[in-house]
Amino acid sequence: MRARDEEHKRRQDGSNGPIMAGLEAASVNERTGRSASHTPWQDGERRGVSSLAVKLAKYTAVGGITVRNHVAYIYDFLLRSLFLLVILYVFLQLWTVTFEGEGTSRIAGYRFDQIIWYLIFAEAIIMASPRLSLKVEEEVKKGDIGYQLTRPMSYLLFHYSAYMGEAAVRLVVNLAVGGALGLFVFGVPDWGFGWVGYLVMAAGAFTVNFLITMMIALCSFWIEETWGIEFVYNKLLFTVGGMMLPLETFPETLQKVCAWLPFQTVVYFPSKMAVQFDALLIGKFFVIQWIWIALLSLLLALLYRKGVKKLNVNGG
C-alpha cells in the first residue's frame, strides 16, 4: 500500500519519491533485521568488490525498484494500452485496403503481416517511453533537484536506471496487448532471431530516447517549460523516426536525410529487426546506434555540467 501511496504522490508532484523511499526502505530489511548501513553496495564496499560492481548494483537496484513500483499498476497500464488496439485496428484496415489496391504481396519489401507487426513493435516502443521531461522540469522548478544532487549517486544515471525500469514494464504490457492482436490476426509469426534483434535494438533505442529526452528536460535550467520541445521531438519520432510508416516507404531523398538523424535508431531499427532480421544489417544498425549513444552521452554530460553550475536552489 505504501508503494501505491508514494506512487500516487509521485504522479502528483512528478518527483521520484517511491524510488528514493524504496531505496531507503531497502536499506532496512525487515526479514534479516539489517540496519540502514547494510545496503548491497555498502556491503560490497566492505568486501572490497570493485567500485564499478558496487555502482552497477546501486543503479540496478534503482531500476529494480522502479520495476516493482510500476508492476503494482499493471492493470492501469493495461487499460491505458487498450488505445493501442484502436490504433492498430485502424492501421490494419488501412493497410488491408492499400495491399488490395496495389494488388501486390509486398510493399516496400514488407508483406502485409510484416508491416502490421512492424507497427505493433513501433507503437509499443513509443507508448512505453516514460515522460521524463515533465519529471525533471518539476524537480528543477520545485528545487527537489537540490536533494537529488546531495545523494551519493549520479543524477543522470539515477534517472537512466529509473527510466529503463519503467520503460521495461510498459514495453512488456504494450507488447502483450499489441502482440495479442497480432497473434489473433496472423497466428504465431516466424521471425527466427527477430525477437533477439528487437530486444537488443530496443535496449539501445530506449537509451537514445533517454539521452535526447534528458537533454530536452535539462533545458529547464534555462527555460521555464520544456514540454513544447519534447512534444516536437516526439512528433519527429512519429514521422522521420519511422513510427507511422517504415522508412522504406519514404521518397528516396527523405530516406537519405533520415539516415543521418538519430530518430531512426529509436523506432525504425528495433521494429525492422523484429520483422526482417538480418545478421549483417543488425551489426550495421548496432554500430550506428552506439555511435549516436556515445555522441549524445557526451553532449548530455556537457549540458548537465553547464546546467548544474547555473543551478540556484533557495530554501528547502
Partner: protein, 264 residues
C-alpha cells in the same frame, strides 16, 4: 429582451471573457496554438508520404483526406474553444465542482460548457482553416458547404463528449473512460470512412458516430449526398437529445461534493 436573447448575450459574454483570460499569457497562448498545429501537421506528413506512393485509397484522394482533416480539426477546435468544459465534465462532476453552477440562475449545462476555453484548440481551428484554403473549394458555395460541415462536426463532437462524460453521474469517476471514448472517437474521425467494412463501419455510424464527420468531405463537400446529409442531421438531433437527457437525469442524482470553489 427575450430569454433566448438573454442566454445568447450571456454565452457571448462568457466567450469574450474566456478569450481575454487566455490572451493574458500571450507567450503561453501562442506556444500552445503553434504546438497543436505542429501536432496536426504530423498527420499531413503521414498522408503526404502515403499518397505520394499510393495515389488512391478506396476512392479517396489526397484532397478528400486533407478536407477530412480540415473538418475534423476545425470541428473539434470550435467544440473545445466554445464549449471547452465538455471535455472536463466528468472531472467537474466527480470532484463536486458543479455546485458553483447550480447556485446560479442560468441553464446549468450551457453555463458549464461555455465556462472554459481550450487555448490549444485555437491551433486546431487555424490548422483546419489553412487546410481549407490550400485544398478546399474557395467558391461561395464551397465556403458555405465547409461552414455547414464545421457546424455539424462541432455539434457531433460536443454532444458525443457531453454524453460520454455524463457517465460520471452514474458510475462515479468516469474521467478515464470518457477520455478513452474521446480519443477513440477522434481517431476514427480522422481516417477515411471507406477503409472500414462490416462491423467496424457499422460502429462508425452508431456507437461511435465519428463516421458522420469523416464522411463529410465526400458526402457534402465533394457532392451533396442527400441521404447522408439527412442521416447526419438525424444523428446530430439524436445525440443532442441523448446528451441533454443524460445530463439532466444525471443532475438529479448528483450529490454535492461539499467543495468550496471560487470562479475567477
Amino acid at each position: 429582451m427575450s430569454t433566448a436573447a438573454k442566454h445568447l448575450s450571456f454565452v457571448f459574454a462568457c466567450w469574450k471573457m474566456n478569450l481575454a483570460g487566455a490572451m493574458e499569457f500571450r507567450m503561453s497562448f501562442w506556444l500552445q496554438v503553434v504546438t497543436m498545429m505542429v501536432n496536426n501537421a504530423v498527420w499531413i506528413f503521414f498522408w503526404g508520404v502515403y499518397f505520394n506512393r499510393f495515389p488512391l485509397v478506396n476512392g479517396w484522394q489526397m484532397q478528400d483526406v486533407m478536407m477530412m482533416w480540415a473538418v475534423s480539426a476545425a470541428g473539434f477546435g470550435f467544440s473545445a474553444v466554445l464549449f471547452g468544459n465538455a471535455y472536463s465534465l466528468a472531472n467537474i462532476v466527480a470532484t463536486g465542482q458543479l455546485d458553483t453552477y447550480l447556485a446560479q440562475p442560468k441553464p446549468v449545462l450551457l453555463h458549464v460548457l461555455v465556462s472554459r476555453m481550450s487555448v490549444s484548440a485555437i491551433g486546431d481551428i487555424l490548422f483546419g482553416l489553412i487546410l481549407f484554403v490550400l485544398f478546399g473549394d474557395l467558391s461561395w458555395l464551397g465556403i458555405v458547404k465547409f461552414a455547414v460541415a464545421l457546424c455539424l462536426a462541432t455539434m457531433i463532437f460536443t454532444y458525443f463528449t457531453v454524453l460520454t462524460q455524463s457517465l460520471a453521474f452514474y458510475i462515479g469517476n468516469a474521467e478515464g473512460l470518457g477520455h478513452q471514448f474521446f480519443i477513440t472517437f477522434l481517431t476514427f474521425a480522422t481516417y477515411p470512412t471507406d477503409i472500414f467494412r462490416g462491423i467496424g463501419r457499422m460502429v462508425l455510424f452508431t456507437v461511435i458516430p465519428a463516421g458522420f464527420i469523416s464522411y463529410l468531405p465526400l458526402g457534402l463537400l465533394r457532392e451533396m449526398q442527400t441521404p447522408f446529409l439527412l442521416a447526419t442531421v438525424v444523428a446530430v438531433t439524436v445525440l443532442a437529445v441523448c446528451a441533454t437527457w443524460s445530463f439532466s437525469r444525471g443532475l438529479k442524482r448528483y450529490g454535492s461534493g461539499n467543495m468550496m470553489t471560487v470562479r475567477m
